[in-house]
Subunit: 243 residues, 2 copies
DNA sequence: TCTCATTTTTAGGTGCACCTAAATCCAGTT
DNA sequence: AACTGGATTTAGGTGCACCTAAAAATGAGA
């Protein structure tokens, strides 16, 4: 309720992670939280009780966790920091998109309001980070247009990559090799049965990708037989420069 | 001795502070350390014992503290981070010179090697930070040409500002108002007795400054009656833009 | 409705960096 | 050589975020 709860780094990480899990799975359990944060489940329980005391989450034992509006606001602030920093490091300092997540995880907690606003201005108040994730604005508003998993597309469908998971840097390097970035055009050519690989065309280049990988890639579906669905050659400029 | 001591944020702050005190006072006592870090003297004693165990300092109870070569190396790394960050924030993001110390105090501990090297390259491997403090190079080498305190100059002497204390941001705003930056030319006109104010000319403008303040300003002495000692009008460009 | 594997919480404990209060050391008078 | 005030260390304690092990609740299938 009151604005003036003292939020430290640990709390910020919990709230951010709760937000992300809520975003992806709907419900948030202490076990999922613990797994995501690499801590023991009992540690999560303890901390959640504290967050509940601070009015940052509501918590019903055995039933799950939900962010309060205040908790959500803090989570979105951290996310804003994270994503602006990621983009800044790519745009202003030429870091690779697979390096920036790790760096942002640390910087997001210590950067001042004043500095983050300068970065936001420098970047021209961008809407998405280098992995396609939407950047909350100063007031905690997010454009969340999630898209669908590439893995859920059928043969012949096409789309534009909207977002990829930023947590696994090895995966990001591999995606870069394949030419998979936000805004890349993809067409599903063929799907092998039994969790086999998917054959797709990326900006006109034919590739095979493992179905598990395709679950980490989100696309905006294009109507079949639009012109976009016939192997448009235009490459995404901004991001592919930073391999 | 071994390289692989796990150095955390607290340890980095201790080593940095010990370095700074050693630089300024020669000897380092637990009490001075505690005062500088705003902690209880007993806390400093405890931590110093730990640092000694880790071979980062040598410590003789009641006699003082000294950095080992390894401790010194860590301190200089942190200092390098601090000063590069300060300069970067001024140069690349237009922050004021009185804001950047506070920001750098937090960023210095979490920034990666890779990012700091990018920043160093971006800045062209600069020699000094916005307050004139020398930036250690990647291998821990520092150019320390300290200069003398403005407060120690006599009437008629002149010099070029080499460094000012970066810790007090209110003071920095005041110095900016007076036109006192690194590279500003100063001539001492008159010194009032009994710790009174000093009358000086800064880039040709006559000002009064309190003697205590003059102890935080370091200058490189110019021979009297050089041309530089006759109120050269040229202003320092880079820094005075960021008031 | 009962059973039982899984999830979740409770109980008790750790290391860390800090604290206050009390004891001890040290150096400069007398 | 004893005194004494300031510097320094020791002793004992705190909150925090984590841990392991054990107990308890849940809910899905028999």
């Amino acid at each position: 309720m009151r604005e003036f709860v003292k939020v430290n780094e640990a709390i910020e990480d919990y709230l951010k992670t709760i937000y992300n899990i809520q975003d992806e799975h709907g419900k948030v359990s202490t076990t999922m939280l613990a797994k995501q944060m690499n801590i023991a489940p009992s540690s999560a329980t303890g901390m959640i009780k504290k967050l509940a005391r601070l009015n940052l989450v509501t918590y019903e034992p055995y039933r799950g966790i939900q962010l309060t509006s205040h908790g959500r606001k803090v989570a979105l602030e951290v996310l804003r920091h994270h994503r602006l920093i990621e983009l800044y490091l790519v745009e202003a300092l030429g870091m690779r998109w697979d390096e920036v997540h790790h760096e942002a995880e640390k910087l997001e907690h210590v950067i001042s309001k004043s500095l983050i606003e300068r970065i936001d201005s420098y970047l021209g108040h961008p809407a998405v980070d280098p992995h396609g994730a939407p950047i909350p604005d100063r007031h905690g508003k997010v454009e969340s247009t999630p898209g669908v998993k590439l893995a859920d597309l059928k043969s012949g469908q096409c789309g534009v990559v909207s977002e990829v998971n930023d947590r696994d840097s090895e995966m990001l390097r591999y995606l870069a090799e394949l030419g998979i970035f936000p805004n890349a055009r993809i067409k599903v050519l063929n799907i092998a049965p039994f969790q086999g690989p998917m054959s797709i065309s990326i900006e006109g280049e034919e590739r095979l990708i493992w179905i598990e990988l395709a679950k980490s890639i989100f696309v905006k579906l294009l109507p079949e037989n639009t012109e976009g669905c016939r192997d448009n050659q235009q490459k995404n400029k901004n991001v592919s420069d930073n391999l």
